[in-house]
């Protein structure tokens, strides 16, 4: 296995650990960082140097893929602030899981007439998840935030399943 655990994406980009990063600024930073370590601008002195440059480029790409996606950014934020917090909050409220099961059934049964309404509803649920997540983080309640991230995964999966059908 050559895979090295990814370092904290926020540290790689040199941005503060916060959920609400300006996406334009983030992209500009990505472009600048990528340029800086592009092999064309980094004539490697020797073999080790060459590996270091490639490693840095890979880190920047990985971090970019994490930070540009709000939900992956949230996961990275939680793991950086409190390692293991996602794993220890996997037990979700049975009532929520019951609703998730019903949503999955609705997605499986969706047809031309209901797909549009269901897609809108799932988008609203995800927007509400994100708002609640931001509030949990503002209140410093990382356990609640971790549960929120897990809950959103069910809504994301339902939406992806719905899109895959049409």
């Amino acid at each position: 296995m050559t895979h090295v655990p990814a370092p904290d994406a926020f540290a790689v980009f040199g941005v503060p650990r916060t959920l609400d990063l300006d996406e334009r600024e983030l992209e500009q930073r990505y472009l600048r960082l990528s340029r800086e370590c592009h092999p064309d601008h980094n004539r490697a002195q020797d073999h080790d140097d060459c590996i270091a440059v490639l490693q840095r480029a890979a880190e920047i790409n990985d971090a970019w893929n994490v930070l540009r996606d709000p939900w992956r950014r949230a996961r990275a934020l939680l793991e950086a602030e409190s390692p293991g917090v996602l794993a220890k909050n996997q037990r979700l409220d049975p009532e929520f899981l019951g609703e998730a099961l019903e949503l999955a059934e609705e997605v499986a049964a969706a047809n031309g007439a209901t797909t549009h309404e269901l897609r809108e509803r799932l988008a609203r649920l995800l927007a509400a998840d994100y708002e609640a997540l931001a509030a949990d983080l503002r209140n410093g309640d990382l356990d609640a935030a971790a549960k929120r991230v897990h809950q959103s995964h069910y809504h994301q999966k339902a939406l992806a399943d719905l899109e895959a059908k049409s």
Binding site: Q90, L97, Y154, Q156
Partner: protein
């Protein structure tokens, strides 16, 4: 990775799919989930006065192994007692279905669902103080 024949059989012909009345006194309901893969499993038992499980139903949203694990669990639950059901271990499901290591969590989910359903039935019938179920952390 190939699914075992038993998994495929349960996946294609799941046993005991459906729901029981979750508000009925003699029905215990367990709903559990594995957030990382987005699986949800609902398992219900109907228990007679003698503590025997007379019916079991499940609904699972997830991969073939999760469906097979819960389908198999309902087969084992029907006709057994609550006490015996509480002793069902995920490793028995793994063995019966020949689940590969990456799918062991599906059997764990089924065991959790059985325990949650039993706890719910016990709570309804005064055999457990409210909120006093064991929390495996």
């Amino acid at each position: 990775m190939a699914y075992s024949e038993k998994v495929l059989d349960h996946y294609q012909n799941p046993r005991n799919v459906g729901s029981l009345d979750k508000d009925a006194q003699d029905v215990g309901t367990g709903v559990v989930g594995a957030p990382e893969c987005g699986d949800v499993m609902k398992l219900q038992i109907k228990v007679d006065d003698g503590g025997k499980i007379v019916d079991a139903k499940f609904k699972t949203y997830g991969c073939g192994s999760a469906i097979a694990s819960s389908s198999l669990a309902t087969e084992w639950l029907k006709g057994t007692t609550v006490d015996a059901a509480a002793r069902i271990k995920n490793t028995q499901i793994v063995e019966e279905l020949s689940l590969p290591p990456v799918k062991i969590h599906c059997s764990v989910l089924a065991e959790d669902a059985i325990k949650a359903a039993i706890d719910d039935w016990k709570r309804k019938n005064g055999k457990l103080p409210a909120g006093g179920e064991e929390q495996s952390s």
